[in-house]
């Protein structure tokens, strides 16, 4: 098959009004754009700076040996040259993702399914942390189990259940977190392409956040995880925007750790209209304020968006009026005191999202008692397979996932929800069995708000 390979991944069309995004990836710096260093970093990432220290050391040794033999035997020189030529092909230990913003490729369904409405006034939106298709299999870092990888059969089965729920709701735009395309723990299954082929979503922008060739911890191995934006309508441009890394980890852990990104896609929804969709997933276990800074950066980013936008994802933070802040029943006792113990939440940092954007569930609707708020909880670590202290199956116990749209837009009344259980918004599947997060959904009314 004749193919063009572009490891740096940039080629898709940019049809949007670039005034919303002056930071061109081709190095042309617009006013207010990145500085020279940032441009250099962006260019390095685009052209594929795939060399790390181990290969630099290898260069040194190789050149020395080559120098020794150049005069003695041309064959040795040739063989060494062949080896050296292969060096740039070496895959790094882990991708540091050393860029500020980077365009990402848009992948498509093998056969496009035309949307029912070519120029819709409303869009059904869903955001869901799909827990890399692990459903309720207990992985080691949750302390409820000690699995580190799934069989291919398990992944296929779990993903089929996820696709079923997506089809039951049938969103026009889907944002997913913790989706994988080539990870050992999920049997190297490409969930992004799987989602495209199994639903009526046509386009996908995979926002890779974790790309480690081999994680030498608990046998985790290769990791290729990220977030994704799917759409029935054409994604004409997509990019990932680098977020700050944690600073409270040792160097080895940090090297192999996730790098959070803001994913942004420009979607052509017909009639000459472009909208933007964002997907985010912020830190969960940091002790150095990284999550707060990431949430601030997300806010700043969408605040300057000029297109109508929707943002969805897993903020790993409670709403500002959440009643229950500590003592969630699903934290395994043995996680206490480890790096996976849940740090205290700081829900006040979400307030400005509610002030400046339109949440899918307003704080009024969210209520002021735990009983009221329970209806909108989106997360439980343990799930129904582990009973709580009273012996009851565990249910969703906190809200960490959100949808917001720009002030100029609105949510259709009665359309917003958390798909906590069968029956919500007509679904038949039980989301509690499919992930440790529930999908958040709503119908986005374009231009239905207060400009």
């Amino acid at each position: 098959m004749g193919v063009k390979r572009e490891p740096g991944a940039r080629d898709s069309k940019e049809l949007q009004n670039r005034s919303a995004f002056p930071h061109r990836l081709n190095g042309t710096v617009s006013r207010g754009g990145p500085n020279g260093d940032q441009v250099a970093r962006m260019q390095r990432s685009v052209t594929g700076g795939r060399k790390d220290l181990s290969t630099v050391g290898a260069w040194g040794v190789a050149w020395t040996v080559m120098g020794l033999f150049t005069r003695r035997s041309a064959s040795f020189a040739l063989s060494m040259s062949a080896l050296l030529a292969l060096l740039p092909a070496c895959e790094p230990l882990a991708d540091d993702m050393d860029f500020v913003r980077q365009e990402v490729q848009v992948t498509t369904r093998s056969t496009l399914v035309p949307p029912a409405d070519a120029a819709p006034a409303t869009l059904k939106v869903m955001a869901w942390n799909v827990k890399y298709g692990a459903a309720r299999i207990d992985f080691w870092f949750d302390y409820w189990g000690d699995r580190v990888q799934m069989t291919r059969h398990e992944v296929l089965e779990n993903m089929a259940d996820l696709y079923r729920l997506v089809n039951e709701y049938d969103p026009d735009i889907l944002m997913t977190e913790e989706i994988e395309v080539n990870s050992r723990r999920s049997a190297y299954y490409d969930m992004v392409q799987g989602m495209l082929e199994a639903t009526s979503l046509n386009y996908a922008a995979y926002i890779q956040t974790w790309n480690s060739r081999y994680i030498p911890s608990e046998g985790v191995g290769r990791m290729d995880l990220g977030n994704a934006i799917f759409s029935k309508y054409p994604i004409t441009f997509a990019e990932r925007i680098r977020q700050e890394d944690r600073t409270d980890q040792d160097a080895v852990t940090a090297k192999f750790y996730i790098h959070r990104m803001i994913g942004r896609a420009v979607i052509d929804v017909g009639a000459g209209r472009d909208v933007a969709a964002y997907v985010v997933h912020t830190e969960a276990y940091d002790l150095d304020g990284t999550k707060r800074r990431q949430i601030d950066q997300i806010y700043d980013e969408i605040k300057k968006e000029t297109l109508p936008f929707v943002i969805g994802g897993d903020w790993n933070e409670l709403p500002p009026t959440a009643i229950k802040l500590v003592g969630f029943p699903d934290e395994h006792p043995s996680s206490i005191g480890t790096e996976y113990e849940q740090p205290p939440y700081t829900p006040e940092i979400m307030q400005k999202y509610y002030d400046d954007f339109v949440p899918w569930v307003s704080l009024e609707a969210y209520g002021t008692t735990e009983v009221d708020q329970r209806r909108y909880f989106t997360h439980t670590v343990a799930g129904p397979l582990h009973p709580d202290e009273q012996g009851n199956p565990q249910f969703w116990n906190r809200t960490l996932d959100y949808l917001f749209v720009s002030k100029a837009d609105a949510w259709a009344p009665g359309s917003t929800d958390v798909l906590q259980e069968p029956g919500r918004q007509g679904i038949k599947s039980d989301p509690l069995l499919l992930s440790d997060h529930a999908p958040v959904v709503g119908t986005w009314v374009l231009g239905g708000g207060t400009p």
């Binding site: 063009k4 490891p7 290898a58 033999f69 003695r72 092909a89 070496c90 291919r152 081999y214 046998g219």
Partner: protein
């Protein structure tokens, strides 16, 4: 840079009494076995002891440090004409200790279930053929199989080639290696070596991946006196480590397609091998 390298080699030469030796250093990793009582050993090379009668015993030191016993007996099977030796190799190793010591890193801790990597014994059989004097050409064919003694929850690592090949008998079921090496005495105290190898390992969990590995290596050995050698070089591996890249097809669609990984590792060893 080149001048500096020659200066370093020149310094080695000045310090090396081996310059006065008439016989060049012998080649290592060939079909030839050590004479009775002769020894050889390195940090990364096997420790060898000549037993006499055309036999020697070898063991790798590093696995012992990881509580993994291993022995290989090598015996000359005969000669094919002048200077061509055929040697058989028969070994046994128990890699379980290394797997258990690396739990939490290469293997899961399995804290809740309390599982441990199982007991595995790995017998080896091989055939070496070497010929030549100043330049020694060696062909090899080895097979190692892993025999589980009970349940073994450990699965193939799917990691870097050297580690994968090391644990392949225990985790993939078997490892077959074939190779060709040429080792030439440039000077009495300096040898150069080039080798190519092909490997096949047993099955990995689904989805399928290529079980074939290729490697090519070049290096030199510098004699420092009558006993010590320093080996420097590099090795390249080509194999399937589940890497995928995004490629644009003729139809304009982007797809993730599997590609083989290429890795280059520098090699170094300090070897004690009295002449």
């Amino acid at each position: 840079m080149k001048r500096a390298c020659f200066a370093v080699i020149g310094l080695f030469a000045l310090l090396s009494p081996a310059l006065a030796e008439a016989e060049p250093m012998d080649a290592r990793e060939t079909a030839r076995v050590l004479g009775k009582g002769k020894v050889s050993g390195g940090l990364m090379s096997p420790f060898e002891l000549g037993l006499g009668g055309g036999w020697e015993v070898t063991t790798m030191i590093v696995p012992w440090l990881l509580l993994s016993p291993n022995f290989t007996f090598r015996g000359e099977l005969g000669h094919l004409g002048k200077g061509v030796v055929v040697t058989g190799e028969y070994g046994l190793s128990v890699p379980t200790g290394a797997m258990r010591l690396t739990q939490g890193y290469l293997f899961p801790t399995w804290e809740n279930s309390g599982q441990r990597p199982g007991w595995v014994v790995a017998p080896t059989a091989g055939l070496f053929v070497s010929g030549g004097e100043r330049g020694v050409l060696t062909g090899r064919l080895e097979t190692t199989v892993g025999l589980s003694l009970g349940e073994n929850p450990a699965t193939p690592l799917e990691t870097y080639a050297p580690l994968e090949l090391l644990f392949a008998p225990a985790l993939n079921g078997f490892r077959v290696r074939t190779g060709l090496a040429y080792d030439y005495a440039i000077l009495d105290w300096l040898r150069a070596r080039a080798a190519v190898n092909g490997y096949a390992i047993g099955r990995s969990p689904a989805p399928p991946r290529s079980p074939f590995y290729a490697s090519a290596e070049v290096g030199i050995e510098i004699g420092l006196g009558k006993t010590v050698r320093v080996a420097l070089g590099g090795i390249w591996y080509n194999y399937d480590q589940r890497e995928k890249v995004l490629e644009k097809g003729d139809d304009g669609r982007w797809r993730r397609v599997p590609v083989r990984s290429n890795d280059f590792f520098p090699t170094f060893d300090l070897i004690l091998r009295p002449r």
